[in-house]
C-alpha cells in the first residue's frame, strides 16, 4: 500500500485560507512544487485543469491558490486570495485552460503547470489527493522526463556518479529511500529519490551545500 499520509498533521491540518483543502491548499502545494523546481521568476504561466479541477476551479479559488504557490506563498498566507493580481503586477502572463478529457496522470484533481522565462521551461503534473496532500506524477525539466510514483517527499539530483554517491551516503544517515530512479538526457544524469519522511530545513540545507541544483519536493 502507498502511504500518502505520513504525519498526523496531514490529517489535523494544514492551517489554511478556505474554502477547499484539495482545491485550494492542495492547489497551492502543487504550485509550490513547480516553484521549487523552477527556482526563478517565470514570465509565462499556463495551467491545464482536468476533471474535478476543470469543473470547479472557479468556485474553489483554485486559480489564486495555484498562482500563490508558484509565487512561493504558504497556504495560510493572507496574500493567497490576491495572488493573481500580484503576479500580473510583476508582468507575468497567466493562462488557465479547462481541458475536456480525462487526466493524463489518472486523478480527478489534476493540474499541469507550464512555467517559462527567457532561459528555461518546465512542466509539472500534480494531483491533489485530499486534505491538502498532493502527489507529483510527472516533471519535465532540462531535457528530462521524470515520472515519480507520486507521494512526496521527492529529491531530484542532477550530476554525475559522484553526486549520486554523495547524496546517497548523506541520505543513508537521514531516512529510508523508498524508491530510486535514474534518468538520462543530453545534459547528463538525474537521480530521483522517493524519501520515507520529510526532511528538516537544516537537513535540506546540508544537502544543498554540496549540490546547488538539487530539488526537494
Amino acid at each position: 500500500m502507498t502511504v500518502n499520509y505520513k504525519s498526523v498533521f496531514d490529517i489535523i491540518g494544514p492551517i489554511m485560507i478556505g474554502p477547499s483543502s484539495s482545491h485550494t491548499a492542495g492547489a497551492c502545494a502543487i504550485g509550490r512544487a513547480a516553484n521549487s523546481i523552477f527556482k526563478d521568476k517565470p514570465t509565462d504561466i499556463v495551467i491545464h485543469y482536468y476533471e474535478s479541477f476543470a469543473q470547479t476551479h472557479k468556485g474553489h479559488g483554485t486559480d489564486y491558490a495555484i498562482i500563490s504557490g508558484i509565487l512561493g506563498f504558504e497556504p495560510d498566507d493572507s496574500r493567497v486570495p490576491y495572488a493573481i493580481g500580484l503576479a500580473q503586477k510583476q508582468g507575468i502572463n497567466i493562462t488557465f485552460i479547462e481541458e475536456p478529457g480525462d487526466s493524463p496522470i489518472n486523478h480527478p484533481n489534476t493540474a499541469i503547470i507550464d512555467l517559462k522565462n527567457d532561459s528555461k521551461q518546465i512542466t509539472v503534473a500534480g494531483c491533489s489527493i485530499g486534505g491538502g496532500t498532493i502527489e507529483i506524477r510527472e516533471i519535465k525539466m532540462d531535457g528530462f522526463d521524470i515520472k515519480p510514483k507520486g507521494p512526496l517527499p521527492i529529491l531530484l539530483v542532477q550530476g554525475g556518479e559522484d553526486d549520486h554517491q554523495n547524496v546517497t551516503d548523506q541520505l543513508a544517515n537521514l531516512t529510508k529511500v523508498n524508491d530510486q530512479k535514474e534518468y538520462q538526457s543530453g545534459k547528463g544524469n538525474l537521480y530521483e529519490y522517493d524519501l520515507d519522511r520529510r526532511l528538516k530545513a537544516h537537513e535540506i540545507d546540508e544537502l544543498v551545500k554540496n549540490n546547488n541544483k538539487l530539488v526537494y519536493l
Partner: protein, 296 residues
C-alpha cells in the same frame, strides 16, 4: 506506522497506553521532531479551530462572497438562547460550532483542515462542545486531536479523504468517525469502543455524495458538517452505551473506499450531480459564473 484500526486498538490494549500517546510516539518516530514541538504544533491547530468557532458566531456572523452561505451560526446562537431547542442545547451547541467553522471557511477565512476544509467544522464541533460538557483542559483537547488524527490517518491511507475520489462520505464521514472515536476515548471509553464508534459513524454516512452547488464549498457542505458532528456525538454515545457495529471498523473503511470508487463522476465534487444539478442549483451557478458556465 499503524495501518489499521485493529493494529491501533491492539497496541493500545497491549501497551495500556492511550491512543493519543501512541500517535505522539509514532509522530516522533516518523518526523524526528521532539514531543514538545509536536504538541506545540497541535496546540496551534487547536487555537485556529477555536478562533473559527468563535468568529462565525460573533455579531452578525460571516458571509461568503457569493452570498450562498453565512450568518446561520448566529441564528443558531440566538435560537439556543430561547432554551426551547428540540435536540437539547449540547447538540445544538455542537451544530453551531460546526456551522460557524464552515461559514468561516466559505468566507475565505482561516481554518484548520480536519481532515479537509470541506469537513473542517465537524471535529471542532465535537471538541469545543465536549470542552464545556466534560470541563476538558487544553492538554486533554490537544490529546483529543492526536487520537482523532491517529484514526484519520488509518482512514486516509486505506480509503482516502477527497470528495473528488470518494464523495462526501470520505470527507464529512471521515471527520465524523474521527470525532466519534476521539470523543469515546476522552469520555473514558475503551479502545474497542473507539473502534465501534468509528465503525458506526462511517456506516451511518456510507454513500454520502459530494455535490457542491456551483462547485463551491458552501451548499450543502456547511450543513453537512452539522450532520457530521451530530453523527459523531450519537455514534460516541452508542459506543459508550455498549452498542456495537457488528461489521468491524477496518471492513467498514474498506467498504467506504469501494463505495467511493463506484460513485459516478457527477457525484464526486464536479458540481454536476445531486443538489448541484437541481434547477435551483443550476440557477445559482448561472447567477455566480454566468450563463456560459452551465453547459446544456
Amino acid at each position: 506506522m499503524y495501518m489499521s484500526v485493529a493494529e491501533l486498538v491492539d497496541a493500545a490494549k497491549t501497551t495500556k497506553k492511550p491512543i493519543y500517546e501512541l500517535m505522539i510516539e509514532q509522530e516522533m518516530e516518523t518526523s524526528k521532531n521532539s514531543r514538545e514541538e509536536i504538541i506545540k504544533t497541535m496546540g496551534r491547530n487547536l487555537d485556529v479551530m477555536e478562533a473559527a468557532v468563535k468568529k462565525g458566531a460573533e455579531g452578525d456572523g460571516v458571509f461568503s462572497t457569493t452570498g450562498l452561505t453565512g450568518g446561520e451560526a448566529v441564528k443558531l446562537r440566538d435560537y439556543r438562547k430561547t432554551g426551547k431547542t428540540l435536540s437539547g442545547d449540547i447538540m445544538m451547541q455542537a451544530v453551531q460550532n460546526a456551522i460557524s467553522t464552515n461559514e468561516v471557511n466559505s468566507s475565505m477565512g482561516v481554518v484548520c483542515a480536519t481532515p479537509t476544509a470541506g469537513s473542517t467544522g465537524t471535529l471542532p464541533g465535537v471538541i469545543f462542545t465536549l470542552r464545556d460538557r466534560l470541563n476538558l483542559t487544553r492538554e486533554q483537547m490537544v490529546n483529543f486531536l492526536f487520537t482523532a488524527g491517529a484514526f484519520g490517518m488509518v482512514i486516509a491511507n486505506n480509503a482516502g479523504i477527497a470528495g473528488a475520489t470518494g464523495g462526501c462520505q470520505a470527507e464529512v464521514g471521515s471527520a465524523s468517525a474521527m470525532g466519534a472515536a476521539a470523543a469515546v476515548e476522552i469520555a473514558g471509553g475503551t479502545p474497542d469502543q473507539c473502534s465501534e464508534a468509528l465503525a458506526m459513524a462511517i456506516s451511518n454516512l456510507m454513500g454520502l455524495v459530494c455535490d457542491p452547488v456551483a462547485g463551491l464549498v458552501e451548499l450543502p457542505c456547511v450543513k453537512r458538517n452539522a450532520i457530521g458532528v451530530g453523527n459523531a456525538m450519537i455514534a460516541a454515545d452508542m459506543a459508550l452505551a455498549g452498542l456495537t457495529n457488528k461489521i468491524p471498523a477496518d471492513e467498514v473503511i474498506a467498504a467506504m473506499d469501494k463505495v467511493g470508487k463506484g460513485l459516478p463522476k457527477a457525484l464526486r465534487e464536479t458540481g454536476l450531480g445531486g443538489l448541484a444539478a437541481t434547477p435551483t442549483g443550476i440557477r445559482m451557478k448561472e447567477k455566480i459564473f454566468g450563463k456560459a458556465s452551465v453547459k446544456a
